[in-house]
Structures are given as C-alpha cells and as structure tokens.
C-alpha cells in the first residue's frame, strides 16, 4: 500500500487533474455528440470514472483514505445506475424499436 502511494505520488498531481479533466471532457463531448443511448451511457460512465480517478489521486496525495472509500461507493452507484439505464433502454426499445435518443420528442413545449 505504502509503495503504491509513493509510486502514485511520483507523478505530479497536476497531471492527474489534467488527465481526469480531459477524460471528463471526452465523456461530456461523447454525451453531446452521440445519438445512440448506449453510447451515451458509456460516455456517462467515462465521466464518472474520471471523477473516480481524480478522487483516487487526491486520496493518494493526501494520504486520506476517505476518497478511495468514496470511489467504491461511486462504483456501486454507477453499477446500479447502469442497470437501471439498461432496463429503461430495453423498455424504450420495445416501444419504439430504436435507441436513438432523438426520437424521444413526444413530450415537448
């Protein structure tokens, strides 16, 4: 454990931040540009995981385990989330035979 932390600390924190931000941005952009609901789910997962990584990095740098604990919570939540998301996707697919989010526009104005 100790070694891992020191190994992690070898890379400057800024790198983690930049990397995670980039990852997060990719996730956001993915959500924006994709029309396929599954792809969007994946992008959202990317966003969550970038946050996870960031938390882990901070946790390591600060020698504070709570960040890593949180990461586990997030993973659980993300799993639940994706389960629910997929369930909804199936229902939507059944009714409209597509998972393109642009057809979801009955409700408007």
């Amino acid at each position: 454990m100790e070694t891992t932390v020191t190994q992690l600390q070898m890379i400057p924190l800024v790198y983690y931040i930049i990397f995670c931000t980039a990852l997060f941005t990719i996730g956001v952009v993915g959500v924006l540009v994709k029309r396929n609901a599954l792809a969007i789910f994946m992008s959202v997962e990317l966003m969550l995981n970038s946050a996870n990584l960031l938390l882990a990095a901070f946790s390591a740098y600060r020698n504070d385990s709570s960040g890593q604990v949180f990461v586990f919570f997030i993973m659980v939540v993300a799993a639940a989330e994706i389960a629910i998301g997929l369930a909804l996707l199936v229902v939507v697919y059944r009714s409209s035979r597509t998972i393109d989010i642009n057809i979801l526009n009955r409700l408007k104005w």
């Binding site: 789910f41 966003m47 504070d64 604990v69 997030i74 629910i84 998301g85 369930a87 909804l88 409700l107």
Partner: protein
C-alpha cells in the same frame, strides 16, 4: 437515522409481501410504518445527534425537513390508494421504490458529508428514474424515464466531478472541515475549489430544477404517471432544496461571492422561464410542471438569502408548495381518470357538479399564485422579506413580476371550472373516490394558512 432504518425495513417488508401477492396488507403496512418513522424522526428533536463520524447529522433542520418529507409521502400514499385502485397487481415494487427514494431524500436533508449527499441524491434519483417509467405500456412514461435518466446521470457526473475537485482542494468530504478550510483560505481560494463548488451547484441546480438546468422537468413531469409526478414535484424537489440549502449553509456561507451571482442568475431565469412558459400550456399537468420550475426559482431565493430565518422560510415554502401541489395534482388525477385528458378543457364546468373538488383546486391555485390569505402568500412574502433583508430588492422585484404573470395561468383552471359551460351533466364517478381525500387536503391547506409563523420558527 432510525427513521431511515424504519422506512427501509418497511420497504423491504412491502417487497416481501408483494412477492407473495398479499395486496391487501401492503398499504396498511405502509400506513403504519410511515407514521412510525415520522414519530421516530421527531424523537430526535433538539438533540442534534451525529452518526457515523458526522456522515449523518440529525439536527433540527434535518428533522423538520424529514418530517415534511415523510408527511408528504404519507399523503402521496393516501392518493396512491385511490390512484391504483383498479390495478390488480400488488404494486409492491412501486411502493417500495417510493419508500426507498424517500430514504434517499432523508439522507439528503441530514448529510454531514459529501459522500452522504451523493448517496442520498443517487438513491432518490435512481428510484425516481424507475418510477417515472413505471407505466411501462405508456410511451410517454418511457420517454420521460429515459430523458430523466439521461439528463440526471449526466448531471450526476458533474456533481461528482465537482465533489472530487472540492475534495482535492480541501482534503475532506466533511462539511465542517470544508467550512474550516473556507474560513482559513477565504482570501485565496484556489480555482479548483471554485470549479468544484460551481459544478456541485450545477448538479444540485439540476436536481431542484433551476433554469437553465430545468429542461427535464416539464417533460418528465408530464410523461410520468401523475402520482409519481406528484411525488417527484414534492418530495424530490423539497429534498433537493434541503440538500442545496444545507450544503451552502454548512460550508460555503463565508464565500458567498463565489456562488451568489450564479444562483441569482439561476433564480431569475427560473422564475421568468417557469412562469412565462406556463402561460401557454393547454395541459394542466404540464402547466403545473412549469409552475414547479417557477417555484424552484422562488425557493432558490431562500438559499440566496441564507442568513436569518431563511431555513424556516424554506421550510414554510416547501410545505406550502408541496401541499398545494399535491392538492392540485390530486384534482388532476381525478379529472384525468374521468375525462382521460389533462387538457384544461376537461376542467370545464367542474364546479357545477363537483363543488368540493373545484373549491380544492381553487384554493390550491390561489395558494400557488401567492394570493392572500393562503399559505402560499405567507410563504412568498416571508421569502421576499428575508431576501430583502439581505439587500436583494431587485431579485424580489423580478420574483414579484413573475408572480404577476403566474396569476394568469393559475386562474385558468379556476375560470374553466367555475365559469365555463360544462361538458358533463353529472358528478364525476371518480369524484366519489377522491372527494374525501381532496377535502382533507383543503382543510390541511387552510389550517396551514393560519400557522405559517409556527412553521417558520420551527428551525
């Protein structure tokens, strides 16, 4: 804390009985369990117990809001009884989900730690995603659930990233620690902290439905089954506001320059967009959804005001908004059941044969519009007073302009009910089902109208 446990146990029991198809015992269990939770919740009054290393704090703020949330949920179940009367299935899943989401809501009001906040939000939201889509055969419901899920999880991502950045800046999820950090570093706040705070604010703004993150609200509210809409519009919103308020109040009150302007912009946009967009709605359900947006704008003012008795005002506003909204939605459920439509036209001439229902709707509308002497007025005016004491006169003026606009659309159902020729010539069948409950809501609303002072001074 024990209220959460109680409710969770009740939910599990409900699931259990549902699995064995005991439809008849489910609701009675809930009606025993929720009041029990309510009482257990109140027992912690004035004790301010901290649980789990300050993850969960049962202070008066939390207890008051939790009491409100549990109480509202009880009301929802009262209507659930009639709403789902014709459904043969035990519906244990839906009930359990409601109870679970309530647990999430309770966590949101009492968190002492950002982890708890996140968990609460997600517990609430995940249940709501499912509930929104609970009418599987209805494409609208599906669409609503999907939209809610997509936007909601997206917003969760921002919230989470914000939490991560904040954690990076302060080194802790604990609100107290963050506050101390803020107090110490007031002069030079790092950009990371600011971004984190703002992203969190965005995430919460999404949850409360503040513009420009309100877009999910009208669609989701309209598409979801009405009972679930009612639940989302009340418990979901109140819990989110309690969380928002708690977060800002506990940790960031010293750095209001960081978030105040943004929140003011949110509030102004929310009030204006909500009220104006509601003007042109034909569907009463969608109109109420926009009204919910507009009210979110008003409640944001309480957060902006923050000092003084803003918490009490927020509580009062939550109560007034929730009770009136439930009443309105209850009438809507009834009308929908009878006419099959949410259109304002289906309200035509309601007063003639269903005077009680029409009266209830009127009272609810007047209260939402903030016309004295309804509780909605007391709430609004207390809100304005606390905002104005913090020097937010321009904001209040905009809020009042919004209220002017709102009078029009709140009046439309009233006018339709009382002054438009009816399509039907006899009392609604459904009215028999709903009448007592709705009457109870009206009485509640009227009683509350006379005790706003009590509610405010609670916390």
């Amino acid at each position: 804390m024990y209220a959460i446990i109680t409710i969770s146990i009740v939910a599990i029991i409900v699931l259990f009985f549902g699995a064995f198809g005991k439809k008849k015992v489910i609701l009675p269990i809930i009606f025993v369990g929720l009041p029990l939770a309510f009482i257990i919740n109140l027992m912690g009054w004035n004790q301010s117990i901290h649980y789990f290393n300050e993850m969960y704090i049962d202070d008066n703020f939390a207890i008051a809001f939790n009491g409100v949330l549990i109480f509202i949920t009880m009301l929802i179940f009262v209507f659930a009884r009639v709403y789902y009367k014709s459904v043969k299935r035990p519906l244990e899943d839906i009930y359990a989900l409601i109870l679970f989401s309530l647990v999430g809501g309770l966590m949101m009001t009492a968190f002492g730690n950002l982890v708890m906040l996140f968990l609460g939000i997600e517990t609430l939201s995940l249940s709501l995603y499912l509930l929104a889509g609970s009418k599987k055969s209805d494409p609208h419901s599906n669409e609503a659930a999907m939209k809610y899920f997509l936007t909601g999880s997206f917003a969760s991502g921002f919230l989470l990233f914000g939490i991560a950045l904040l954690y990076g800046a302060c080194g802790s999820f604990n609100l107290e620690v963050i506050k101390q950090y803020v107090v110490q570093n007031q002069a030079n706040i790092p950009a990371m902290f600011t971004i984190g705070l703002l992203l969190m604010a965005v995430g919460l703004a999404f949850k409360v439905g503040a513009a420009p993150f309100h877009f999910w609200i009208p669609d989701v509210y309209e598409g979801s089954p009405t009972l679930i809409t009612t639940y989302m519009a009340t418990v979901g919103k109140v819990a989110a506001f309690a969380a928002f308020f708690r977060l800002i109040n506990a940790s960031f009150s010293e750095v209001d320059f960081l978030w105040k302007t943004s929140l003011i912009v949110f509030a102004v946009a929310t009030i204006l967009i909500g009220n104006f967009a509601a003007l042109y709605q034909d569907s009463v359900k969608r109109m109420l959804a926009y009204s919910g947006v507009a009210h979110a704008g008003y409640m944001l003012i309480a957060i902006i005001a923050l000092k003084g008795n803003a918490a009490g005002v927020l509580l009062l506003y939550s109560v007034s908004y929730s009770i009136a909204t439930i009443t309105a939605f209850a009438v809507l459920m009834m009308v929908r059941k009878e006419t099959g439509s949410f259109s304002i036209k289906s309200f035509n001439g309601l007063a003639k044969h269903n005077p009680t229902v029409a009266f209830a709707m009127t009272i609810a509308m007047l209260s939402l519009a903030g016309i004295p002497p309804m509780i909605g007025f007391s709430a609004k005016y207390q809100l304005f007073v606390s905002a104005i004491e913090q020097g937010q006169l321009p904001l209040v003026i905009i809020a009042i302009i919004g209220s002017m606009v709102s009078v029009y659309y709140y009046l439309r159902p009233v006018v339709a009910m009382y002054f438009t020729r009816s399509m039907v010539s006899e009392p609604f069948e459904a009215a028999k089902l709903y009448k007592k409950q709705i009457l109870g809501m009206v009485i509640l609303l009227l009683i509350l109208s006379f005790i706003p002072g009590l509610i405010i001074l609670l916390i």
